[in-house]
């Protein structure tokens, strides 16, 4: 079964793009393809001049490690690690310099200096998502993928997280999957998916 049909989409560097659509419209599949988590059965996906369809799994992983950040709806923090350790994790995993200092800075940038040594279980939903954002940005990715990042948060917290995400991604391409119309409207560009078809592509600003 074809989930996405005839999608042709190019995203400019440092652009913010919102992918909107109903449940089951293919938003998450598109995101997975763009991030190299999945490969298309037909057609090509080019990420930062790499044709993902021609790379193997580890090569795609390397591109993600070097250039991509992720923020998920359900935060996906490791419960066995503190906030600081969660943020340090990708830096340490990929042997990057000064993991502790950089992670502390990232957490400071999301306003969580006072929660460095707390585990996810003792953080609120908003705080957990801020840790996740710090983790996504600590490697200074060129592209940030966010899959319903405020889907699990109350309205006030969701706004705070949205602000944070837009404030921090100045030099990063943001690709956001959401069905929150207001949130999508804050992006420079919106695309609408319906039954796997790219129906609408509009610039918001």
């Amino acid at each position: 079964m074809a989930i996405l049909k005839g999608c042709e989409l190019e995203v400019e560097p440092q652009q913010s793009l919102a992918i909107v659509g109903r449940s089951g419209s293919g938003k998450s599949t598109l995101l997975a393809l763009m991030a190299g988590l999945d490969t298309a059965t037909r057609g090509d996906v080019r990420l930062l001049s790499h044709n993902l369809s021609q790379l193997n799994e580890d090569q795609r992983a390397q591109i993600r490690a070097q250039s991509v950040g992720f923020v998920f709806q359900n935060f996906q923090l490791m419960s066995g690690l503190t906030a600081l350790e969660n943020v340090m994790m990708p830096l340490e995993l990929f042997n990057l310099d000064q993991p502790k200092q950089r992670a502390e800075q990232a957490l400071e940038s999301v306003g969580l200096t006072h929660r460095l040594h707390h585990r996810p279980q003792s953080l609120s939903g908003g705080e957990q998502q801020r840790v996740a954002i710090a983790r996504a940005l600590v490697t200074q990715p060129k592209i940030l993928f966010a899959d319903e990042p405020t889907g699990n948060l109350d309205e006030t917290t969701a706004h705070q997280v949205q602000d944070l995400l837009f404030n921090l991604q100045d030099h990063t391409t943001l690709i956001l999957v959401t069905h929150d119309v207001d949130y999508a409207a804050r992006c420079q560009r919106q695309v609408r998916l319906e039954q796997g078809l790219l129906l609408e592509d509009q610039l918001c600003h």
């Binding site: 999945d38 799994e57 580890d58 992983a61 490690a65 490791m78 066995g80 690690l81 995993l93």
Partner: protein, 824 residues
């Protein structure tokens, strides 16, 4: 009925969907192991009983120095027990001017009640008539006897009709090691050998239903005739019986260990299912189902699961047993296969009880769930004391099925106290790991984080893995010790030939003949005698209740005359020099006999040494290893200037071939009349045979527990599989390469293996200290090898399991991982 139908439908749907997978696998392990162990144990026991009964020629035998009252035969007939009589005595057989001491055995027509009397040409007892005998083939060499030749016994001549084969040598006293001659019991009287004072042995054998035999045994013990020895066909010798009892104990404990290990798997699996059960129950409650209906529905499903999985376990256990039958038949001859009823029932009960015991706490917790949980996922039900109490009662029932009362008394409290300590220890280990986590980095930190993501489950995992490793270590050590102990009782250089009744004037000649054959044998002087008084107070058989004490006081025993006890006896107590009565020579006494007669250091003992009365002071007590087949004595007298009617005895391991052995034996016979040659090789061979059978049974069960344990460790690791997959998916998404994931995944397994090993080593150290302190009364130090081996073995085991179970998920793409998570 609708409720049962619903429960059955749900249960079956759950089975097909794999909802109960780990639970039923664990129950299958428990009931398979119990069924298999019970069936093997019963078959082995029956086979060995049959062998022992064959050796004894009956199920129960009264051996007596006097004729046995006929009332016992009448009682047996009234109770449908068969009886047979034998009468044995040592005498000289004559053939063509050659004499040889033989063991003459008169047997009744239905002898033997168990087994067969085998002769080389398959002749039967009724072919003997009143003028023929069956003879030991040794007589061919010793007397030059051939079949059809005449053999003179007492005042009559007989024809050697056939050679005896496969003679059983158990239950034999030394005099019975002389070559045997068998004839009908009615002929004995006519030989003119029986008279007042003749040393004959009368035996009355019984066989039949176990219940009647048990009753007979009780009556015989009650009758308490001092000249009797009551022998049951449990094991060929008391020492061997002790060794076999250890083997049965090992089998019982191994079976219990397997069930408890499977129980741990159920405990883990039910924690694993708790979330799913809770969600289902919360939903049902929210939709209006009553608590009573839910309890009934789930209880019925658990019951169906117990029956289904136990049934599978029973079938698997029996199938494995029948697969093992050819192997068993190699070791147990004849193999008597036990009826499987008991094993099947035990398998069913243990599987059912194990499921209820270990899944009840989770089940009960799920039952307490609030309907609000449907809306708020953080409302997890709390565990309750009553659930634990129910589990304890069930655990008690389960253990009482598998252990005897004596073991149960200490096993249950140890298990409970141990269980609490184990959980504490596992918690401490995990806490330690959390503490070192900040000092690690990269993949190691992620791997450690993997272990601390669900501390409760990891503690249970650690207890399970640690216990499994501990049980395996203990079983390895016990099995090793058990086999070593058995091996030590029959060392390779064990003496197998005895030469006795050597007169002082024959000493030099016999020693020379042995030396010429390069046989190392020390001729030990001894005297026949009897203990008659202690501190001038007469000692009489009637003063003692113990049959053994009565027998020893009534009969003459071999008493060594040596200036010092042999170095293979361990001196346990010695009289200080200043308490010696210098006018008396000393005697060294075997410690158990000293205890039996209440003899102490310094006591003055009076002996009747073939008519001569002599006094000795007790100067030392000794421990003697009676199973060693070396020359051992209850009493060792210090030589004095006064002469004693001494003879010499010696023993050695004969490394000569059959021809040389026969030549030596004939030479001794011809040159030194009255010297008795006893060949114990056949007996040693038979003991070795039985011990190797028991060792085989122990090894088989050990292997099974090993396999079951591996399955449990595997189940334990699977309980956290979902969380593990989630972590790997996250890491893959963030850009981790396959090699990183493999490193993290396997490190997690190695870490839990090391912790489990550390846990097992702590238990092992504690257990060895307790055993050494309370049992062996020894001090025991820190043994680094226990720790090192436990940690290394456990880490390697988990690495292997990790590789086997995770090699597929570890290589999955993020998309496949996601699909795996969504499928669950």
């Amino acid at each position: 009925m609708p409720l049962i139908n619903t429960a059955l439908r749900w249960f079956w749907r759950g089975i097909r969907r794999g909802d109960w997978l780990w639970l039923w696998i664990a129950v299958v392990i428990a009931s398979t192991s119990v069924t298999l162990v019970e069936q093997v144990a019963q078959t082995v026991q029956k086979s060995m009983l049959s062998k022992a009964a064959e050796s004894l020629s009956a199920d129960l035998v009264i051996r007596s120095t006097r004729p046995i009252e006929s009332s016992w035969q009448e009682w047996a007939a009234d109770n449908q027990l068969a009886t047979s009589e034998t009468l044995s005595l040592t005498t000289m057989a004559l053939h063509q001017d050659q004499f040889q001491m033989v063991m003459l055995k008169g047997v009744s027509a239905n002898y033997p009640l168990r087994g067969q009397l085998r002769t080389q040409n398959h002749k039967s007892l009724n072919e003997l008539g009143d003028s023929a005998v069956f003879a030991d083939p040794q007589l061919a060499g010793l007397l030059g006897l051939e079949l059809g030749n005449q053999l003179t016994l007492g005042s009559r001549d007989f024809i050697a009709l056939d050679w005896l084969s496969d003679q059983d040598v158990f239950q034999a006293t030394f005099s019975q090691f002389a070559p045997q001659v068998i004839l009908p019991i009615e002929q004995i009287d006519a030989l003119g050998l029986l008279g007042p004072g003749s040393r004959a042995t009368f035996e009355l054998g019984f066989s039949g239903a176990a219940q009647a035999l048990d009753e007979l045994y009780l009556r015989l013990v009650e009758a308490d005739e001092p000249h009797w020895q009551i022998i049951q066909a449990r094991a060929p010798t008391p020492d061997l019986e002790r060794a076999l009892n250890t083997a049965w104990l090992f089998l019982d404990l191994a079976s219990l260990a397997t069930v408890l290990v499977a129980g741990l798997a159920i405990l883990i699996a039910s924690q694993f299912y708790l979330k799913r059960w809770t969600a289902t129950l919360a939903l049902l409650r929210a939709t209006g189902a009553t608590s009573r209906r839910l309890v009934s529905l789930f209880a019925l499903q658990l019951t169906f699961l117990a029956l289904f999985a136990s049934g599978l376990g029973i079938l698997l256990g029996l199938a494995l047993f029948y697969l093992l039958t050819p192997v068993l038949a190699n070791y147990f001859s004849p193999l008597v296969i036990a009826a499987p009823g008991t094993a099947m029932l035990l398998g069913l009960l243990s599987g059912t009880l194990a499921l209820w015991t270990f899944s009840w706490p989770a089940f009960y917790r799920a039952m307490q769930v609030s309907p609000l949980s449907v809306l708020r996922q953080d409302l997890s039900p709390k565990s309750a004391l009553t659930a634990l109490l129910v589990s304890l009662v069930l655990l008690f029932l389960l253990m009482s099925l598998l252990l005897n009362n004596q073991l149960l008394i200490w096993a249950l409290p140890s298990l409970l106290i141990g269980g609490a300590l184990l959980a504490l220890l596992a918690g401490l280990l995990l806490w330690g790991l959390v503490k070192i986590q900040p000092f690690t980095r990269g993949w190691l930190r992620v791997a450690i984080a993997g272990l601390t993501r669900a501390p409760g489950l990891v503690v249970t995992q650690l207890v399970a893995i640690g216990l499994v490793i501990f049980v395996l270590l203990v079983m390895s050590f016990v099995r090793h010790d058990l086999l070593n102990a058995w091996q030590a009782t029959l060392p390779a250089d064990m003496p197998d030939t005895f030469v006795m009744n050597i007169q002082p004037d024959q000493h030099e000649g016999v020693a020379r003949l042995l030396a010429e054959q390069n046989l190392t044998a020390e001729l030990v002087p001894m005297v026949r005698g009897r203990l008659v008084a202690k501190n001038d107070q007469p000692m009489r058989a009637s003063q003692f209740d113990e049959p053994r004490a009565k027998r020893l006081l009534e009969r003459e025993a071999n008493i060594a005359v040596l200036s010092a006890p042999p170095d293979y006896n361990r001196i346990t107590a010695q009289l200080p020099d200043n308490q010696w009565q210098t006018d008396l020579p000393g005697v060294s006494i075997e410690a158990e006999i000293a205890e039996l007669f209440g003899l102490a250091l310094g006591d003055v003992l009076t002996y009747d040494l073939i008519g001569e009365t002599r006094q000795y002071q007790v100067r030392s007590l000794r421990e003697v290893d009676w199973q060693s087949f070396r020359l051992n004595f209850f009493f060792i007298l210090e030589p004095t200037e006064q002469s004693l009617p001494i003879t010499y005895i010696t023993n050695f391991q004969s490394n000569l071939d059959e021809t040389a052995t026969l030549a030596l034996r004939l030479a001794i016979n011809e040159q030194f009349s009255g010297v008795l040659w006893v060949d114990a090789r056949a007996m040693i061979h038979q003991i070795r045979d039985i011990m190797s059978q028991a060792a085989m049974a122990v090894t088989l069960l050990y292997m099974f527990t090993l396999v079951a344990s591996l399955v449990v460790v595997f189940t334990a690791t699977q309980s956290t599989q979902l969380a593990r997959l989630r972590t790997w998916l996250l890491l893959r998404t963030l850009g981790a390469k396959q090699a990183d994931i493999i490193k993290i995944g396997l490190t997690e397994f190695v870490l839990i293996g090391m912790l489990g090993g550390l846990f097992a080593a702590s238990l092992g150290q504690l257990a060895s200290m307790l055993i050494a302190h309370f049992w062996l009364e020894l001090s025991v130090g820190f043994n680094p090898w226990i720790w090192l081996s436990a940690i290394v073995i456990s880490a390697l085991l988990l690495l292997l399991i990790g590789w086997l179970t995770q090699r597929h998920p570890l290589r999955q793409t993020p998309k496949q991982l996601l699909q795996a998570l969504q499928a669950d």
